[in-house]
Amino acid sequence: MNVLDWLRRWTVPALAMCCLLGSAAAQETPAVKFVSTAAGPRPMEEQTARSVVRDYGEAWRALAEASKQSRPDLLGPYFVGAARESLSQGLKNQQKNGMRTRYLNQAHSLEALFYAPEGDILQLQDTADYQFRVLSDDQVVHDEHIVVRYIVLMTPGADRWVVRQIQAVPAQ
């Protein structure tokens, strides 16, 4: 095999691989609606409400990206405590089993249930509407559009609100 053949054999795939690297589109932040009027006992400040919407949306974007790539580190700074432990364990299992879960076309409708007197605990109810897809070795084994209710605990972090507990609950 002379040099030209060698070049033809390896150069094209190398360049293709390079282009591929930049092409994986990153997840965008899902839409989040928030009704904070029922928050109590502490009244919710407007700036807090805006931060909660921003950080909750970013948390679900990070969860969707982490689930898509089975990488716990992509959860980023948005999950702490029990939520981070359980989600990380789930993603490690995914990785081990060659499976991936996708949360597509998300829409979240948040309602504040409890806002602690000192403002350090926020309980939310999220009615999440998304396409839930399960893949095994890149084969879709499950695909359903669902609406699920989550009870979420958020606490203030260094510079954002973080999800400390997130639990899907059966519809009443």
Partner: protein
Amino acid sequence: MRLWISLLLLGVTAALIVAGLGQPGVLWGQNRESRDAVDAAGAGAPQAAIASLLRNVQRHDWDGAYAQVAGSSNVDQASFIRDLSGTHGALRTFSGLTGWDLNPLRATDSDAEVRATMHWATPVGALDDARDLKVVREGNAWKVVWPQPHFPDPPPQVIPLTFMRWDLVTGGSGDEWGNRNVDGPRVRIVSMNAVSYEGGSVVIGEAINEDSIPAFVNVNATLVGPDGQVLGNESSFDKVLHVLLPKQVTPYRIDFPEVELAKIKSVQMDVKTSLIGAAADPVIEVSNQAIGDDGAGAKALQGQLLNQSGQVVNIPHIIATFYDDGGRVIWVADGYIDRALLPQSPEPFRVRVPERIANNARNYRVVVNQYSLGGS
């Protein structure tokens, strides 16, 4: 041809090396900052004697420096070195002489007086030390009469430590939410004022530790413009007491050199506190405080510090708050002292103050920040 080329190369090389030796300021191998000072010193013999002394101090050549000291000074070399290189872990022991300015005050054929302002590079920033030095002619050389240094010499004694000490037990680094959360200390801004200064603006005021435990404090300020955009965000840096005991009040000063006062619509203050172990010792008395001339044509708040405890304060840092007749904070100034505070030994201090403030200040208060080797 061979000879001509060899001579040419040799000659050009020699000429370039000689030219290299003649480059300004390189002759004495100093760094850039003191080069202009050397030129100024060349003016007269008395100043040359002082410059030679200071140059040796810069190179830590103490024998060479002491050789410039006049016999009539009756200062032994050890005291001379201690006076210039500092003792007891003081700020001076951390410092390096980077340059000096020499201003002749008076001169005759046999003696002269020169104000030497020494520029020291210290860990906490540049510090000037001005001294009026007398220079006398001894034989055909000029020598510097070094003032007799006074080193505090507290009598050996045992001073009981009778005050409170708080120790901090920090939990593990794991996530302890909901099990052992401890609130940070409560510190409140009691006054805030923004003033214009040298084309920029300065935010000053006072904060109090309202809690019953010591607080570690950092004060930040954000300047907001008319349309809500952030004009600047700075911290109080070293112009605040970071460790506040219960009910202790600290001044703070936050400089915004690039933001004009007229552009500011509002100031957002932010106090961040955390738990800290601390001691109610050392207690430092600030006495004889008065505003006067600093001898160099500027106004200064002067006074005396007295360390009433048994612990050596290696680096004292004073922060002075100035009030108008309505009790409003109109200025905050600070300064470091490059001598240590030994127990029961008074040490003078001076903080320069703008003329306008000196005229309007009706009252002032000085607090003392301190650093002790081995403890923070």
